[in-house]
């Protein structure tokens, strides 16, 4: 099986500071995997490089066999890479439904239509309702996005990403800032979405229950470099990882 995403010695430096250096790994289609590591290890920067937000200094990033380094975000999104952000990236003054509907319209190539009301676009509206139902947000469809609770805003962010029907979905700390109860719900939901939408899923997380609970592969970044890669069991037993990140009493 060929990898859906392949990083080949990817670098990024800000001035003299090397944020990611010589990072190489391959993600298989349908895989659910986690990226962990201390703050400043370059996890989010790596996501930004994959999605075209940051231009890599060196190396290649292959998505479905094509090197996407140098392509702008909108082209990378169009090829099937979806993303949710560490701080929910939503449209605060629009309704929950419209937040997802605009993404559905975009997927259907209908964002240039200027004559009929958004309400008349049945396909996009039905798709949006379907996604909100999967996320459990349908009851709040007509509320303004800024009125949602923090956790629901993060869900909505994921919903916007899902509406674009990505094959690869990148989630940046989906449980950040959540209570233990919410974190548990998010863990269950992400696993459900992974199956339901047949995604290849890569998530950055500090919540170890989530990492070791649902990831098939765990990759550890430290100071911009890939420290270790393996199954949860292998990572848990890895001496270097314990010293660098997990701690002795993990």
């Amino acid at each position: 099986m060929t990898p859906i995403l392949q990083l080949d010695s990817v670098d990024k430096a800000f001035g003299g500071l090397k944020v990611t250096s010589h990072v190489s790994f391959s993600v298989m289609p349908g895989e659910i995997s986690a990226i962990i590591g201390p703050n400043g290890a370059g996890k989010t920067t790596l996501f930004n490089q994959i999605t075209g937000h940051l231009l890599s200094d060196a190396g290649a990033i292959y998505f479905k066999g094509e090197n996407i380094v140098g392509r702008p975000p909108q082209q990378i999104v169009a090829r099937g890479v979806g993303r949710a952000f560490q701080i929910a990236s939503i449209f605060p003054d629009e309704t929950v439904l419209d937040n997802v509907r605009v993404a559905c319209l975009s997927k259907l190539g209908q964002t240039r239509k200027f004559w009929r009301s958004v309400l008349d676009y049945r396909q996009a509206t039905d798709d949006a309702h379907g996604i909100l139902a999967s996320l459990g947000l349908d009851a709040q469809a007509h509320r303004k996005a800024f009125e949602l609770a923090h956790g629901d805003q993060k869900l909505l962010d994921i919903g916007i990403a899902l509406a674009l029907k990505p094959t690869l979905l990148l989630l940046d700390e989906p449980t950040a800032g959540m209570s233990p109860e919410e974190r548990h719900q998010m863990r269950v939901l992400i696993k459900k979405l992974w199956k339901e939408f047949e995604l290849t899923l890569v998530f950055i997380e500090h919540d170890m229950d989530m990492v070791f609970g649902i990831a098939q592969v765990v990759r550890v970044l430290q100071q911009g470099a890939l420290l270790a890669e393996g199954t949860p069991e292998q990572i848990r037993a890895n001496k270097q990882v314990i010293t660098a990140y997990l701690g002795e009493d993990f």
């Binding site: 975000p73 909108q74 939503i90 449209f91 629009e94 964002t111 200027f114 916007i160």
Partner: protein, 322 residues
């Protein structure tokens, strides 16, 4: 579904009442003064609504819309002046085309820079156009402006011209309203609220900004072209930055987050100017104070505050039933 239909009906009937009221002005009043006033309100409303598509909807504060307003007016004024009255309507078309083309070219320049730099650049280009018009006396008439712009045929009649303006303005605002609530309009609002996320929807932010910049310029030039025939004369003031400023004021006063806000704002400012201007020569001071008070008391604009009160009342009503 039923409540949706009811809401649509109510909105449509409100809209109908406004159109009817404007249509009745020449019938109810024998004074051409009132018709002229209503004409000013209609044209400024179109100017303000198209400006708000840029600012309130997309978040692009242009201080140079007078450029397109003046371009529309001077296209008509110059062509009628040099070629004759029969060129009036073609000249409006020329003005629209020129505005769209110029907006496309300038837009590609000024949209590359965001925020306050965009505002300053639009101001700079606007003032440049004003300077050229002001100084190029031989061609534009400079400070004298252009007089005797007579609309052709039946439109020479003031009442006929009024209905012409009414039709064009209502149709234009209707088109802009459809646009505001279409997928394109939704994308524009998203561009204002979170441009980064729009890129991650696979949409180009600047491309959409350029589209609405051109569309806004087009309808602004249409307002300018219509204005040329109202008083039969135009002046370089139409291109001065204060014209751009006035349309901002109207929009703020009516409410930037409401589609019809700028329409109401334009009407209120023109009526205040008319009422106060007739009584005192210090009218600009009085208007300044009135507007300051309105903005302080109604921070969301007149229409915005009305909508807020309505939703509060609706919530209270719901509470009673429950």
């Amino acid at each position: 579904m039923t409540s949706n239909t009811t809401r649509n009906l109510r909105a449509a009937s409100l809209w109908g009442v406004i159109v009817l009221a404007f249509a009745l002005v020449p019938v109810l009043s024998t004074s051409s003064y009132h018709t002229n006033l209503a004409c000013h309100i209609l044209i400024w409303s179109l100017f303000a609504v198209s400006f708000n598509m840029l600012w309130g909807v997309t978040g692009m504060l242009s201080l140079g819309q007078a450029l397109y307003y003046g371009l529309g007016a001077y296209s008509v004024g110059l062509m009628v002046n040099y070629l004759g009255s029969q060129w009036y309507l073609p000249a409006m078309g020329v003005g629209l085309l020129a505005a769209a083309l110029l907006a496309l070219l300038l837009g590609m320049l000024v949209i590359r820079v965001g925020g306050v730099y965009f505002t300053m650049l639009t101001l700079a280009f606007g003032q440049l156009a004003w300077q050229i018009t002001f100084k190029w006396y031989d061609f534009t008439g400079g400070d004298d402006g252009i007089q005797g712009i007579i609309p052709p045929g039946i439109l020479e009649n003031g009442t006929a011209y009024y209905y012409f303006v009414l039709t064009v303005v209502i149709l234009s605002i209707w088109v802009l309203k459809r646009m505001a609530f279409s997928p394109f309009g939704l994308v524009l609002r998203c561009v204002q609220q979170n441009p980064d996320r729009v890129r991650f929807l696979g949409r180009r932010v600047r491309r959409n900004q350029l589209r609405i910049y051109v569309i806004s310029a087009f309808f602004t030039a249409l307002a300018g072209g219509l204005m040329a025939g109202v008083d039969g004369s135009i002046h370089t003031d139409m291109l001065f930055w204060t014209t751009s400023g006035e349309v901002i004021l109207m929009t703020v006063l009516g409410g930037i987050n409401q589609f019809f806000g700028p329409f109401v704002g334009a009407a209120v400012i023109i009526l205040i100017e008319d009422l106060v201007g007739a009584r005192t020569e210090y009218w600009s001071l009085i208007i300044g104070i009135i507007i300051m008070v309105i903005v302080l008391v109604f921070p969301k604009g007149l229409v915005g505050e009305a909508a807020r009160v309505r939703s509060l009342m609706a919530r209270a009503g719901l509470g009673r039933r429950a």
